[in-house]
């Protein structure tokens, strides 16, 4: 082999070795690039997941608020309706009482109301206040007083007051010195019992327990 041919062979070897090394460098770099890209993909994925989680929570919170508001409005609306229906029952009951006081049975009931108040006070010298119309019913207060006296074993006198009360019906009974007053008008009876009666009415209207 000539010297020139031998030199060419060595030169080819030098160049091919350099190319092999270059390929190795580039191949290594490409592997690293892949690794970097994979890390970036993972990073991007985490970023998306975090953003979506944040957004999901925001949406949940918005929905939650909207539902609370809607439920509150529905509840509020029902409570208003419920209360207004109970009020309606009371209003109608008042109207019925206003009609009842015009019936022949009422004077007897008025006597009972006076008696109940007088017994509650404990008898004695008592003043009875009625409305204008009831004062004209000529309730026999003396007879009633005797009945109360018998029941309580306390001498009782009932005097009709000149002062008239504004009421649908019923009576206000007080001791003559005015220290004890028992308001047994229908309005007062309604007022005293309204709290319990509202529950009773609700039970009647909806069978609530």
């Amino acid at each position: 082999m000539s010297l020139e041919a031998q030199a060419s062979k060595i030169i080819d070897k030098i160049i091919s070795e350099a190319r092999r090394q270059a390929d190795q460098i580039l191949s290594q770099a490409r592997n690293e690039v892949e690794k970097i890209k994979e890390e970036q993909r993972q990073k991007a994925l985490r970023k998306i997941q975090m953003e979506l989680e944040k957004y999901r929570k925001e949406l949940e919170e918005t929905n939650k608020r909207a539902l609370i508001e809607a439920r509150f409005k529905a509840k509020e609306s029902w409570l208003k309706t419920r209360e207004s229906l109970i009020d309606e029952a009371f209003k109608k009951a008042r109207e019925r009482i206003a009609t009842f006081v015009k019936t022949p049975r009422y004077p007897k009931v008025l006597e009972e109301l006076i008696e109940e108040a007088s017994i509650a006070i404990g008898g004695g010298s008592l003043i009875v206040q009625l409305n204008d119309k009831d004062a004209d019913l000529n309730i026999d207060l003396a007879k009633l007083a005797k009945r109360i006296t018998r029941k309580l074993n306390v001498i009782t006198a009932l005097t009709l007051s000149d002062v008239k009360v504004k009421t649908i019906g019923g009576a206000i009974v007080s001791t003559s010195d005015g220290r004890i007053v028992y308001d047994n008008t229908f309005e007062a009876r309604l007022h005293r019992k309204e709290r319990d009666l509202r529950l009773t009415v609700a039970k009647k209207l909806w069978g609530e327990s």
């Binding site: 020139e4 160049i15 918005t62 309706t81 419920r82 009931v109 009876r189 909806w206």
Partner: protein
């Protein structure tokens, strides 16, 4: 003698070429790595799509729940009707407590 000198010159040039090939490969490798590390994946489109999906789902859920609440409001109408039917019983209950002996004994 002249052939030997020529051969040495060719070796020197070959060495230089080899060096250049390796240097260029190194430079290219650095460029690739730099390009990869400075580039960022654009997530905005994917994010917007996913957000739109979530929003749609949330709206659907809300709609269902609101429908359920509306159905409860319909129940309110039933209860109102029931109350109207039972109103007389309620009035009588009040009257029996307020009028001794009741309205109609």
């Amino acid at each position: 003698m002249s052939s030997l000198v020529e051969s040495l010159e060719r070796f020197r040039k070959a060495e230089e070429e080899a060096k250049r090939i390796i240097e260029e490969a190194k430079k290219e490798a650095e460029r690739l790595k730099l390009e990869a590390s400075t580039s960022e994946i654009d997530t905005s489109k994917q994010l917007e799509d996913e957000k739109a999906k979530l929003k749609q789902e949330a709206e659907k859920t809300l709609e269902t729940e609101l429908k359920r609440i509306l159905q409860e409001e319909e129940k309110e109408q039933v209860l109102k009707k029931q109350a109207e039917q039972n109103m007389e019983k309620a009035i009588e209950a009040i009257l029996s407590e307020i009028i001794p002996g009741g309205e109609k004994p």
